[in-house]
């Protein structure tokens, strides 16, 4: 025991005490959130994903340079933390060092620490180069980041200096395991310091090192570097499945009087943990179609603003003054921000710490629509059409089966002897362009000898757009009605050409008692080809580029099948756009945006069309009616309609088969 022991215990106690207090507040604020989020299922999978993504840095490493930089710092810090712990313990009680693990093991440990300390310095140099010289847009400006880079660099320098003066002063047995520090010691030996001076300097740098670490403990809970702690549970509690549904409201429960999120605490603890985990890396923003077309939405800014709202309301939340909490919609999170989202989920797929941006937007929309009747004016007629005629378009429900006139397709009511129910969807039923797609797909089904039926006028809109705009009540009315109809005909397998219908029936009808084998036409056609039931034989001498629909790709992880289908076309050459697969750019129609005017910024579909045209392909292929419409419009806007065709994969296959 020396004076150092007492000073250290006092300082460390104060630092960790304060840090612990701040963490308790963060925990209490998260706990005050009212919406439920159950994330304790499938524990084994959760542990595995935490190991892969925290220790393995899997998601972080999806971005090469920045990923390697981060992983170096992360792994280095784990190693160095072992040394820091040793230092803390031995400061309290001198013999409590880690040499008991054996000379060779201890040598290996300090060797790794020494190397990684240097590696972290290199990584930090790259981080600074990137942040201050390259300045990627997504990163933005951050005082927090500058503070942390300075603190971390000082920490590393302090460690190296501490060790080099240790070598000079004490000449420890493991000095050969400290190559970087030895080089430095070699430099300082030129100063010809005596052993005592070196020992003093070792002590000084050791204290600098320990104080910076304690400073970190104090600093972390209130900075973006909270991700150091929060990202670990956030990865563990992540949504395990790509495919997911929007949270279902139980309208029967009369105790529920608030639908959706008006205040920050109307969201769930997991949402709070999301804000705590955000390190403002900007990967979400880089891929956001709304942000990239000058809309006011940036997923990164949204998370930061929600976090800010939470912190601003801290006192009221902790005091339980529910009524005084300020609304989510404010000067930062405006209604325009909330309506700009196309629900494409590029942000969520990009996020290295698994923040779920869209769920927050959906909950905020629910409140705006159902509680406050606030939404873009043009949406009102869409809701009314869905209410009266079960389609967002202004057409009669009586005309729903007109697309099939003359095709002698039976309805389920006419003939219950069918294997597959063809879910037509409102676009296939009413939109002139997409009626052609539906006729082409029906033609394929006939060529393949599939026994199929349609619901005819009994089919209703799945409610996808209503739900994503926030009208959960209307969605549930439609969903329950459709489930009742599907179950009445004992439907087992559903095939649809619409990714929105696909996602809704597959992932969102289960809770209403609708459980079917739902297949998208891209998968279905791919299977028909693989089984030899249809064989594309006529040459399609075209370069084709495929546009991924968000609801097949990012929402349901189906990327390969539509490409397989296109590759089966004789003579066709399939090329990729600059953004493809899960990095693909939305057409702009998802999340109910199909029905809203795009008044702010550039048009998303134009931007995506530019990417498609850049491939010089003669055909832009799609597997979604909304994408088909948006890209078709884009090609017309670009005055390329006579040179480039926008086609559904079903039309191409139908033309190539006989």
């Amino acid at each position: 025991m020396t004076w150092q022991t007492f000073v250290f215990i006092a300082v460390a106690g104060a630092a960790f005490g304060y840090s612990g207090y701040r963490f308790t507040l963060l925990y209490k604020m998260a706990k005050a959130h009212k919406a439920k989020a159950y994330r304790l299922d499938r524990i084994y999978e959760r542990i595995l994903t935490a190991i892969a993504n925290v220790l393995g840095q899997k998601a972080v490493l999806r971005k090469k340079a920045a990923g390697i930089m981060h992983a170096t710092i992360f792994w280095g810090f784990i190693l160095i933390s072992v040394g820091t712990l040793e230092q803390f313990l031995s400061t309290i009680y001198q013999p409590a060092n880690f040499e008991f693990i054996g000379h060779s093991a201890y040598s290996a440990l300090v060797f790794a620490q020494d190397i990684f300390t240097f590696a972290i310095l290199l990584a930090l140099s790259y981080a600074s180069y990137r942040r201050y010289i390259i300045r990627p847009e997504g990163l933005g400006k951050s005082r927090d980041a500058t503070i942390v880079i300075c603190m971390t660099s000082s920490l590393m320098v302090a460690i190296l200096l501490m060790n080099s003066f240790l070598i000079l002063g004490e000449d420890p047995w493991f000095k050969d395991a400290l190559p970087v520090s030895s080089v430095l010691a070699g430099v300082f030996s030129g100063l010809s310091l005596n052993a005592d001076t070196s020992q003093i300097l070792h002590g000084v740098f050791k204290w600098i090192h320990m104080l910076i670490v304690l400073g970190f403990a104090v600093y972390i809970p209130r900075s973006k570097h909270l991700h150091l702690v929060a990202a670990v549970p956030n990865t563990f509690f992540r949504s395990l499945d790509r495919a997911k549904g929007i949270k279902t409201i139980n309208f029967e429960d009369e105790a529920v009087t608030q639908y959706g999120a008006a205040k920050i605490t109307d969201l769930s603890w997991k949402d709070a943990l999301d804000y705590y985990s955000c390190t403002e890396c900007g990967r979400c923003q880089d891929l956001c179609p709304a942000y990239n077309t000058q809309k006011p939405l940036s997923p990164k800014a949204l998370i930061m603003d929600l976090k800010d709202n939470l912190y601003r309301n801290k006192e009221k939340i902790l005091a339980g003054k529910e009524d005084e909490i300020t609304p989510i919609i404010d000067e930062n999170v405006t209604e325009d921000v909330i309506w700009a989202c196309t629900s494409c989920r590029a942000c969520e797929i990009a996020c290295p710490v698994f923040i779920e941006h869209t769920d927050k937007i959906f909950e905020i929309r629910k409140n705006l629509v159902m509680m406050e009747s606030k939404f873009p004016a043009e949406v009102q007629s869409v809701f009314k059409n869905m209410e009266t005629n079960a389609t967002p378009w202004a057409f009669s429900s009586a005309d729903r089966a007109q697309w099939a006139d003359g095709l002698s397709i039976k309805t389920a009511a006419e003939d219950q002897n069918f294997d597959v129910l063809l879910w037509v969807g409102c676009a296939g039923a009413y939109d002139e362009r997409n009626k052609k797609v539906m006729r082409a797909f029906a033609s394929i089904l006939k060529k393949a000898g599939v026994k199929f039926a349609i619901l005819g006028t009994e089919e209703q809109c799945t409610g996808d757009s209503a739900r994503r705009i926030g009208n959960e009540y209307l969605f549930q009315t439609l969903a329950k009605s459709n489930v009742e109809t599907l179950n009445r005909y004992n439907v087992k397998k559903v095939v649809t050409a619409c990714p929105h219908c696909f996602n809704t029936i597959k992932n969102e009808y289960g809770v209403f008692g609708g459980n079917y084998d739902v297949v998208h036409h891209s998968e279905f056609i791919a299977q028909l080809i693989a089984e030899g039931k249809i064989k594309p034989s006529k040459a399609v001498d075209e370069t084709i580029t495929f546009h991924d629909s968000c609801y097949m790709g990012r929402w349901n992880n189906v990327y390969q099948e539509p490409r397989d289908v296109l590759n089966s076309l004789p003579s066709a050459r399939v090329v990729e756009m600059s953004q493809n697969h899960d990095q693909s750019m939305c057409c702009g129609a998802g999340g109910g945006r199909m029905w809203m005017e795009e008044k702010i910024g550039a048009r998303i579909n134009d931007k995506r069309t530019e990417q498609a045209l850049a491939t010089k392909a003669g055909v832009i292929a799609s597997s979604c009616p909304f994408c088909l419409t948006m890209l078709g419009d884009g090609v017309k806007t670009k005055d390329m309609a006579d040179k480039v065709r926008v086609m559904d994969i079903a039309e191409l296959i139908d033309q190539s088969t006989s």
């Binding site: 159902m370 202004a394 429900s397 009586a398």
Partner: protein, 257 residues
Amino acid sequence: MNIYVCLKQTPDTETKIKLAADSNGIDTAGIKWIVSPYDELAIEEALRLKEKNAGSTVTAISAGPARVVEAIRTALAMGADNGIHVEIPETADSNLTAKAIAGALKKEAKVDILFTGKEAIDDGAAQVSQLVAEYMGFPYVTSLVGAEYSATAVKAKREIEGGAFEMIEIQLPALFAAQKGLNEPRYASLPNIMKAKKKEVKPLKLADVGCSDADQKIRFKNFQLPPPKQAGKKVAGDAAAQAKELVRLLHEEAKVI
């Protein structure tokens, strides 16, 4: 203020009209019913007036068969406080409808202001609003596109022919028939839809409002559907020949010039 709104339930605008078996009316089977869109403007105007005048109530009234209660519920969900339903036959004419509504209104303690749509979108007769005003002894303004309200009078802006507007100052009580452009009707919030389910709709019969079958002055029979739309004709040739042929067709076939 005691604010009243008259509304009619009509088939949805996308409905494919079929004739009833006896051709004396339309076949109502399978029809999706809505509040006539002009009446929605009337409801919205009533609600906005109520919101500006604390302590006011809005009562929605409709005359028609049992199904029209749904339309009254829609008004209640938008924010009306009370509902009155006068049960009259499906086949009622404008006179019976207006007299029944006026009869029900006269049973109310006080009617300060009355809103209707300028016409219903099904028969397009544009009769009931003025007939109600007549039976009530109220002055009225039709085709209302703007209004400034005070406690006793209204400065009304109505649309007249040729895209012009007429300004009228009118003392209350009075009736106003709403035209498109007056406002944008709101979408009912979910809590209000829930609350509307519990609000009471007062049921009245013909006899309760001093009417009888004899008040129906018009009886409809022999409805016919308009002839199906003919395919268009394309006139070929150079401009001069096209013009000549067009004139001939308009003169000899269409007989419009």
